[in-house]
């Protein structure tokens, strides 16, 4: 615990250093080293806590109403601290050189300091074990994110994205206040331990608490239809901020839900499990479908976060249902799959965002339709992005496969039970559809951005980004490979945490132990796959050495006048899939004799939330004649209200 707080303190010292030194160039080095070191120290503390399975805690006496402030690094918190520190370190290492060229015309120090505070806030959110420090850290995180989203506030659309974000996040916080108020009213004080002790007395098994948790934490996590703030905020923020937000900030929603479930005893009511499963499926399918429609690379990645949150939601749903129907093994599989996918997604999504940032820095555009052929000009960025793309579509030999495998095994096991839980079988094809659409989407983004020929001058004559930007990307890519090739320790860790959520001994859950054992086969598959590919590559090279190998233009069926404009575009690549799904896919098509283009619209924000808001405003205008701006009119209102109240009191007194 001391080690953990030492890390948090180092991160905050980094923030102070950024404020103090401000404009001097040396600040970058000092700030970067301090924050990265702080993250690594906290991360080490989390790994130690996970490995030993212990949970240390610290109580800070507080005079503020709400009782003492408790912080603890229990295994559930440790999983999230590990993710925050590793991804945070990579994002800081990337962001410091990334913003360096803006120093001349923008207060970069402020962005750096806010970023460090945001990382510290994230670590406190997951370790806080009482309502007051939790909500303080939560708000610090929300406001820190807001300040970073509006970093480039000279653009009107950035300010608009920030506004949408702050409305969404505070609506969520409102639900959290309601949740804690309803729960705390039953408890002796405001610590999580007291809330857990009050759990058995909650009406309907805590249904109200769980519903408010899905609403409050769901806004942060970005479940459909609460996701609408996510794409604009992620495309407006500087890239390393988007990477941190998509990698770990939205995961705080997942943390919150798991923490509430854990405090309630790991076995929520049936309706909640089915709801989570449905939310997961809907978020997964719609998230990836809407991602396919995007042409702004960062918006595309943001919609993919919605998809992955959906997969995590499916895992949580399976976990809750398994517990509710009395199958502890299935419960552990579901929660473990959700946790592992949370970590994996943090790694590969931040990697992909950093890759998108490198592309943006090299080319100056995020529009995929203007890119192409970057594989040759940015070979290392392409390699890192390729690893991230292969990881996110969940195929062997990388880490995404391991967590999707866990969720699949949970769903298959649910399908094999004799009770109503077997209806979860229908989640299997849904998850398969999500996976296949993600494959299509990452074939699109990798192929259109990096392969083929440059589609505009933006993608011509660009150069590879600096090593200081590549290093964090390869650190994340290395983690993706490592967790894919050697998933054993990770699977063991999440199974133990999941068992703790359901209050079972891990060894008592046969189905879960089977995946722990068979994760060795996953590593075997990954290693054999890579060895065979490498071997065959060598064999082919040896075979071709003595033969004629020619390098010519692409054949294109003999048509000699091909231009880069004739290539398939992001719009045309996705068009057949999107037209298969019809209106649900949310695109507007533009056809002309020589061009085809689609424009994405967010069905929730653009087609529902904003029209609904306009309707509310129009309805409110009807009330406007009440406001006359003359003093005597208001005095009449006061008079009328007073008479009405007196009449009410008088009538009530008579009864």
């Amino acid at each position: 615990m001391r080690l953990f707080f030492a890390g948090v303190a180092l991160v905050l010292v980094g923030a102070v250093a950024a404020c103090v030194m401000r404009r001097r160039a040396v600040v970058d080095a000092v700030y970067g080293v301090l924050v990265v070191a702080g993250c690594l120290v906290s991360g080490a503390a989390a790994v130690v806590a996970l490995a030993s399975g212990s949970s240390a805690s610290v109580t800070v006496p507080s005079a503020v109403p709400g009782g003492d402030w408790v912080f603890a690094l229990d295994p559930l918190a440790a999983v999230f601290v590990a993710a925050v520190s590793f991804v945070g370190a990579a994002c800081v290492a990337f962001g410091t050189p990334y913003l360096a060229h803006e120093r001349a015309h923008r207060p970069v120090w402020f962005a750096h300091a806010t970023f460090a505070v945001l990382i510290a806030a994230l670590m406190l959110v997951v370790t806080a074990q009482a309502v007051v420090p939790f909500l303080i850290a939560w708000e610090l995180m929300a406001i820190g994110s807001y300040l970073l989203i509006v970093h480039e506030d000279e653009h009107p659309d950035v300010r608009r994205s920030g506004l949408i974000y702050i409305i969404a996040t505070h609506t969520g916080t409102l639900a959290l206040f309601a949740m804690f108020a309803a729960w705390g009213a039953q408890a002796s004080d405001w610590s999580f331990a007291a809330l857990a002790a009050a759990a058995p007395g909650l009406p309907h098994g805590g249904s109200l608490i769980l519903a408010l948790a899905v609403l409050g934490f769901g806004f942060k996590a970005g479940f459909v239809p609460l996701h609408f703030w996510l794409p604009p905020a992620h495309s407006a923020a500087p890239t390393h901020v988007s990477a941190l937000m998509s990698g770990v900030v939205i995961k705080m929603g997942i943390y919150g839900i798991l923490r509430v479930v854990s405090l309630l005893g790991g076995s929520p009511p049936l309706w909640w499990g089915w709801t989570m499963l449905a939310i997961g499926v809907v978020s997964g399918v719609l998230g990836v479908l809407w991602a396919l429609a995007q042409h702004d690379i960062k918006r595309l990645l943001a919609y993919h976060s919605v998809e992955n949150i959906g997969i995590i939601g499916i895992g949580i749903g399976v976990g809750a249902l398994g517990a509710a129907y009395g199958h502890p093994g299935i419960a552990v599989l579901g929660y473990a799959g959700a946790l592992l996918h949370t970590i994996n997604h943090a790694l590969f999504k931040s990697l992909l965002f950093l890759g998108a940032g490198a592309v943006y820095q090299a080319t100056g555009t995020r529009d995929m339709e203007a890119l192409g052929g970057l594989a040759k000009r940015l070979p290392y960025t392409w390699l890192a992005f390729f690893i991230g793309a292969t990881a996110i579509i969940g195929v062997p030999p990388l880490n995404g496969f391991v967590s999707e495998w866990l969720v699949y095994v949970g769903l298959f096991r649910s399908a094999q039970t004799p009770d109503a839980l077997r209806l979860a079988a229908l989640g299997v094809p849904a998850l398969a559809l999500i996976g296949a659409l993600a494959l299509a989407c990452f074939a699109k983004v990798s192929g259109i951005v990096f392969l083929g020929n440059a589609r505009s001058h933006h993608a011509e004559g660009v150069h590879e980004v600096s090593r200081s930007l590549l290093a964090p990307m390869f650190a994340l890519a290395g983690a993706c490979v490592l967790l894919g090739v050697a998933p054993g320790p990770g699977v063991v860790a999440v199974v133990e945490v999941a068992a703790r959520i359901t209050r079972q001994a891990p060894a008592a859950t046969g189905e879960a132990m089977a995946v722990v054992r068979d994760s060795a086969w996953i590593s075997a598959v990954a290693l054999v796959l890579m060895a065979l590919l490498a071997g065959l590559w060598v064999v082919r090279r040896a075979a071709l050495r003595r033969r004629v190998v020619r390098a010519v233009e692409t054949w294109a069926c003999g048509y000699p006048l091909g231009t880069a404009r004739m290539q398939y575009t992001a719009s045309s690549f996705a068009a057949p899939l999107l037209s298969t799904f019809g209106r649900m896919s949310g695109v507007v098509e533009h056809r002309a004799a020589d061009a085809f283009h689609t424009e994405p619209v967010d069905l929730v924000l653009d087609r529902s939330a904003i029209p609904a808001w306009h309707w509310v405003r129009r309805a409110a205008l009807r009330l406007r004649p009440i406001q006359q701006g003359r003093l005597y009119v208001y005095l009449i209102y006061v008079m009328v209200a007073l008479v009405a109240l007196l009449a009410y009191l008088g009538l009530e007194g008579r009864q």
């Binding site: 192409g372 594989a375 292969t390 579509i393 969940g394 195929v395 062997p396 999707e404 495998w405 699949y408 095994v409 298959f412 096991r413 399908a415 077997r422 209806l423 079988a425 299997v428 094809p429 849904a430 398969a432 559809l433 996976g435 296949a436 494959l439 299509a440 074939a443 699109k444 990798s446 192929g447 392969l451 083929g452 020929n453 068979d518 086969w521 996953i522 598959v525 054999v528 796959l529 065979l532 065959l536 590559w537 071709l544 033969r547 190998v549 020619r550 390098a551 010519v552 233009e553 692409t554 069926c557 091909g562 290539q567 398939y568 045309s572 690549f573 068009a575 057949p576 899939l577 298969t580």
Partner: protein
């Protein structure tokens, strides 16, 4: 649940059947083409034509487009490696696979997915509009086939209470077969339809056409040549063989047969499957592209009926 090759119950039979599949797979498209030729009154190429083509291509040099990068060169290796690895998880002898573990069904489907992903990237790497077109259509139809495949897998998971291909398609299935026969037959029909889509056969794609705007798989691999093209042709034939084996495992009990009899049945099954594909191809026309999703949905619906029979 977990098996090592060393303490495998029937190693000779599993290895022998795998060898038969790996060697005999190019026969399946050959038989299909031969059947099609016979039924349409042509002479057509012999059934072993693909072997001759592979031998010729493997001896040739290669042509690489200057637009391409390592992604293009990785694609042929990836499709063949992933398909062969998927075979290792498959109970080719109708009894048990060489490797089986909890949830290897997911590894099976996702290995094929990795192959497809890299093949599509290889196609986009050429910068040709033709290959972009093929890549776009390939991912579209594959996205629709995948849920159908998993419907079949989860239904068999319920029928056999197992989580590996060995359990779902091997000896375990035949202990329960008579109880679940109606749904297993529906699932086999569903798999056959999905095979036509996944392996680019009529009515989804026409492997006999070249240079037409309607083609899908062929247009994706236009720029591959020599040994690379041989690997792609082989992987495609092997994928057809894999799906044929899955259908065979669902319909013909081989668990009790001797190793040689099981291998002989496998050969007969592959030939029969090739002939069935040939019959479909000579009696049906290729569908218009917008109709293809309906065809795949129809195949998935067959599987869903099978699943519902098991869930009730």
């Amino acid at each position: 649940m977990m098996q090592f090759a060393g303490d495998h119950p029937a190693l000779p039979s599993a290895l022998g059947a795998l060898g038969v599949l790996l060697v005999g797979a190019p026969l399946v498209p050959g038989v299909a083409a031969r059947t099609r030729a016979l039924l349409t009154g042509r002479r057509g190429p012999p059934a072993w034509q693909l072997y001759a083509d592979l031998a010729k291509l493997l001896r040739k040099g290669a042509v690489y487009s200057t637009t391409t990068t390592w992604a293009f060169r990785l694609a042929p290796l990836a499709v063949v490696v992933t398909t062969v690895m998927a075979c290792l998880l498959l109970p080719v002898d109708g009894r048990s696979a060489l490797v089986s573990f909890t949830g290897d069904v997911v590894a099976f489907a996702y290995l094929l997915g990795l192959g497809r992903f890299l093949l599509v990237l290889g196609a986009l790497d050429t910068g040709s509009s033709f290959e972009g077109m093929g890549a776009s259509r390939e991912v579209t139809f594959a996205s629709l086939v995948e849920p159908g495949l998993f419907v079949v897998l989860v239904a068999l998971g319920i029928a056999t209470q197992r989580l590996s291909l060995t359990g779902m398609f091997g000896a375990e299935l035949w202990r329960e077969w008579s109880l679940v026969a109606p749904s297993v037959i529906l699932l086999a029909a569903s798999l056959f339809v999905l095979m036509l889509a996944e392996c680019s056969r009529v009515p989804v794609d026409d492997p006999a056409t070249h240079l037409e705007l309607t083609m899908i798989h062929e247009v994706m691999v236009l720029d591959h040549s020599g040994p690379d093209f041989a690997l792609i042709l082989y992987a495609n034939a092997l994928k057809l063989g894999v799906f044929a084996t899955l259908v065979l495992d669902l319909l013909v009990p081989r668990a009790e047969l001797a190793a040689w009899a099981s291998a002989a049945t496998l050969v007969a099954g592959l030939v029969a499957c090739g002939a069935a594909v040939g019959v479909v191809e000579s009696t049906m026309a290729r569908l218009r592209l917008p109709k293809v999703p309906l065809f795949i949905a129809g195949g998935t619906a067959l599987g869903l009926f099978g699943l519902i029979l098991l869930l009730q």
